[in-house]
Amino acid sequence: MLAKAVNPYITGHVHAQLSPRYAHSIPESLAHGRRLIELFSKHGIPPNRVCLKIPSTGAGLVVCSQLQKEGINTLATTLFSVDQAVAAVQAGCYYIAPYFNELSVHFEPETWVDYGDDTAQKHPMCPVIRDIVELYRALEKRPLVMPAR
């Protein structure tokens, strides 16, 4: 209902995240992804305008690979390492979302760390994301990088 309402103001994809409870199940994740695609279609958003966000687990990346083969774009989320980013290339993901902050900072403000004016040097995810970007630059077919704040 929300994507349907926002869609007139969007030129690219609307994103929907698979349930994390299926993060380690290929069949459950595939079934959930297909339920979402069907719902979006009912709301007038065709499969090629939807991007499914899928946890970068072993099972999740197999699901990404399968859905990409079916023409459904995927985003590898809960991605914290270069290894996961390489696996996302192998799965053919359209995007990756490396986490920048810990998810907790949005709910427990005391977990947010102030790195002063040296965030680029001191934040632990900066070198990871930099390594991923540098690695991807050497690849012709690579996912787009959409860091999660």
Binding site: L2, A3, I10, T11, A16, Q17, S19, F40, T77
Partner: protein, 84 residues
């Protein structure tokens, strides 16, 4: 008289691809167009808890109950309906 007003968002849009990181039709209408609309379960929770009279959630839950979807299946179906 026609004036061209360029705010900082317009300036950034002229130089980069901008997505909307909110499930908000009103923000999308006011500040769009955008490239992608991102979402996750936490953003959906934000929309649900900000719903002033709960009408959106109530209507979805009622509809799902009529379809026999209750418990965990009902919660997941409600999230899917909200995001789509």
């Amino acid at each position: 008289m026609t004036t061209t007003h360029q705010n900082s968002l317009d300036l950034v849009k002229s130089r980069a691809t901008i997505d909307i990181d909110q499930l908000s039709p009103s923000i999308a209408e006011a500040l769009g167009p955008f490239c992608d609309m991102t979402s996750n379960q936490a953003l959906i929770a934000g929309v649900v808890t900000a719903d002033p009279d709960g009408k959106l959630v109530t209507s979805i839950v009622e509809g799902l109950k009529q379809d026999g979807k209750i418990g965990e299946e009902g919660v997941e179906a409600a999230l899917d309906l909200l995001v789509s």
